[in-house]
């Protein structure tokens, strides 16, 4: 039996906060910049108290200008700092699109390694919080297409800490997505002390042999719940939390498919052109002769965003029951 390392119970907000705190403590090159990260301590109170401890030079309240939040962080990174830029809500990231896609992701490539861009862009995303059109979106697919960028979306406190530490220490730009519905909802044990989880490694959160469910973010938790319910019906479902969206952990997905022969992909971002499309295509290319059922995707609908009204948001989001129903169908197929 493994000796249990000392742990602390944290929710996801606390996990992000603790990791940032440790990074700021450990390395004076680390700078946090974004809107309201100073005195307010970020709108979710993630950086509360940081400005008092680390000073306004390291906890930088920026003007309301997302392009330059990222752009200035790119410059800092090129000059040897370790900036952690925050976009207050993922919905506000669009003005920074050029800086992320056109600049940060291409710095190493265009200078052939002369300059690098070790940068973390943190942003809360996702719905289920009555955030309406501009505080609910998932943005990962927009950036998924971009080589040079890494995208991480862990949703367990221990994964957040390990992956955020990896992101901060990564020599390349990392988009770090935090599902805000899970911020205070999800709690768990987090090992104390510094540790990393490699970017690009998925995690089998639940083992099973009749169906592979691939998800990330809030829906991982619902998928686990659905799988647990179906266990009572004798169904054995494997749930993979991608944790890292890019690079994709092909190995873990394929290994699972070869065992279960069936794949369900669940994500909140809309289906068309989404992360699931890439996974489905990859599996179809590489594991066609292992498939015993059509690949299924349970994703957000093809609409611009979820509405503010409860029924509109509810209609957008996928319930645990729906997941369970689809899982059941696939297992029985």
């Amino acid at each position: 039996m493994a000796v249990a390392a000392p742990t602390q119970t944290m929710n996801n907000v606390e996990a992000v906060r603790a990791t940032l705190y440790e990074a700021l403590k450990a390395d004076p090159r680390t700078i946090v910049l974004g809107e309201d990260v100073g005195a307010r301590g970020n709108v979710f109170l993630i950086t509360k108290g940081f400005i008092e401890e680390f000073g306004p030079e390291r906890i930088v309240d920026t003007p309301l200008a997302e392009a330059s939040i990222v752009g200035i962080a790119v410059g800092m990174a090129m000059e040897g700092l370790r900036p952690i830029a925050e976009i207050q809500f993922a919905d506000f990231i669009y003005p920074a699109f050029n800086q992320i896609v056109g600049e940060a992701a291409k710095t190493r490539y265009r200078s052939n390694g002369d300059y690098t861009c070790p940068l973390v862009i943190r942003t809360p995303y996702g719905g289920g919080v009555r955030g309406a059109l501009s505080h609910s979106v998932s943005i990962e697919a927009l950036f998924y297409h971009v080589p040079g960028l890494k995208i991480v979306a862990p949703s367990f406190p221990a994964d957040i800490k390990g992956l955020l530490t990896s992101a901060i220490e990564d020599p390349d730009p990392v988009l770090f997505l935090e599902h805000k519905r899970t911020y205070r909802l999800v709690k768990g044990e987090v090992p104390t002390g510094r540790y990393t989880i490699p970017i690009g490694k998925a995690d089998v959160k639940r083992a099973g042999d009749q169906l592979t469910v691939v998800s990330y973010g809030l829906y991982v938790h619902q998928a686990l719940d659905a799988a647990a319910r179906l266990e009572g019906d004798g169904m054995s479902i494997e749930v993979i939390d991608l944790r890292s969206i890019r690079p994709m952990d092909k190995g873990t997905i394929l290994e699972s498919i070869r065992k279960t022969r069936k794949l369900l992909i669940v994500h909140e971002d809309n289906k068309f052109g989404g992360i699931g499309a890439e996974i489905a295509a990859m599996v179809a290319e590489e594991a066609f002769f292992d498939l015993d059922a059509p690949i299924r995707r349970l994703c957000g609908p093809d609409v611009p965003a979820m509405g503010y009204a409860a029924p509109l948001e509810e209609e957008f989001m996928i319930s645990t029951e729906q997941m369970a129903e689809t899982m059941r169908e696939l297992v029985r197929f």
Binding site: I31, E57, R58, T62, P63, A65, A67, S68, V70, G71, I72, A73, V74, G75, M76, A77, M78, E79, G80, L81, P83, P95, N98, Q99, G102, E103, K106, T107, R108, Y109, R110, S111, N112, G113, D114, Y115, T116, P147, G148, K150, P171, D172, P247, M248, K250, M282
Partner: protein, 340 residues
């Protein structure tokens, strides 16, 4: 030969004769390399070139104000003279034009998108003003590390001052009083769009007031005035005085690039009307009048520059292209599977 009497209007700002001749040489080198790019393009040897004719005075002046080994230049794609002036080897310009494997970007970048961490020259993209926040980030790092002998020189054209990222950058630098000089090389044209279609104000420096920083206009055809203005602004930046917006007025005598035909949007007469702003003959005249160079000396400089450009052209052309497999390197640190 002109008389060696100093003109009463001649202020050399402490620059000695050698330095002034070096500036003239830099201007000729820039112009010769510009021409070479257009020549190679018209010969079908390279797909694309960008000219900077008309900007030589700005580049020579700003280059002398730049503190090598300390300051950081965040140039834009028309800054070949400035890049040469702060220490870039002319061979680099040709390697870039020929897109050879030995080019610092490995033949990836368009010509005139130089990079050299070694000499403090930031890598840029072609996206207008996208480099301005990077310059501000570098300046922030300098201030954060209390490196009071360093500053950033961030260059761009007049068109860039319409971009949001430019405004955001100037604003942030102003708020934090960062050690940075924003040098606008206003050549009146953003490809085909004239300045009056770009902004409703006569001078770019008027924008400085909106951010609470000083704005200074300087005659771009006068490298000494540019030197003095940029030097003062950099000194001010280094001593904690914050950013300055310098608007160096000049004129773009060539098409935007080899792919552009400026006859479609401006007349030859208009160009000729601005010929008096050509910084090269003006600076030659000044140095001759002041007895710093002779006609023969200038001929010698031109000959020597041409020989150097010919030599680096031949050398660069003889070098190999990057291997096709180089397409796949430096996407991330370490290896990357491009066919995932």
């Amino acid at each position: 030969m002109a008389k060696a009497i100093e003109s009463p209007s001649f202020e050399r700002y402490g620059l000695d004769d050698d330095r002034l001749r070096w500036m003239l040489r830099n201007m000729h080198l820039q112009r010769t390399l510009d021409n070479r790019g257009f020549q190679l393009n018209r010969q079908g040897k390279i797909p694309f070139a960008t000219g900077s004719e008309g900007h030589e005075g700005i580049h020579a002046g700003a280059a002398v104000a730049f503190s090598r080994g300390k300051d950081v230049l965040v140039p834009y794609y028309r800054d070949i003279g400035l890049c040469l002036g702060i220490g870039m080897d002319p061979l680099e310009a040709l390697l870039s034009m020929f897109a050879r494997g030995a080019d610092r970007s490995g033949g990836r970048q368009f010509p005139n998108h130089f990079t050299s961490k070694a000499i403090g020259m930031l890598s840029i993209s072609s996206i207008i003003a996208a480099h301005c926040p990077h310059a501000v980030g570098v300046a922030y790092a300098m201030k954060y590390r209390k490196e009071t002998d360093r500053a950033v020189l961030c260059c761009f054209g007049d068109g860039a001052t319409s971009e949001g990222e430019w405004h955001e950058s100037v604003n942030f630098a102003a708020v934090h009083r960062l050690p940075i000089v924003f040098l606008c090389e206003n050549n009146e044209w953003a490809i085909s769009t004239p300045r009056e279609r770009q902004m409703a104000i006569a001078d770019v420096v008027q924008k400085a007031a909106g951010y609470g920083i000083p704005g200074v206009i300087v005659e771009g055809a006068d490298p000494l005035a540019v030197y003095k203005t940029v030097k003062d602004a950099l000194d001010r930046a280094r001593s904690g005085g914050g950013p300055t917006l310098v608007e160096a007025k000049c004129y773009r005598f060539l098409s935007h690039t080899t792919d552009d035909d400026d006859r479609t949007y401006r007349s030859r007469e208009e160009i000729e009307k601005h010929r008096h702003l050509d910084p090269v003959p003006r600076f030659e005249r000044l140095l001759i009048e002041c007895g710093i160079v002779t006609d023969e000396g200038i001929a010698e400089i031109k000959k020597e520059v041409l020989a150097q450009v010919n030599e680096v052209t031949d050398r660069a052309e003889a070098m190999p292209f990057p291997a096709p497999q180089e397409l796949y390197t430096n996407v991330y640190e370490g290896t990357h599977e491009p066919w995932l």
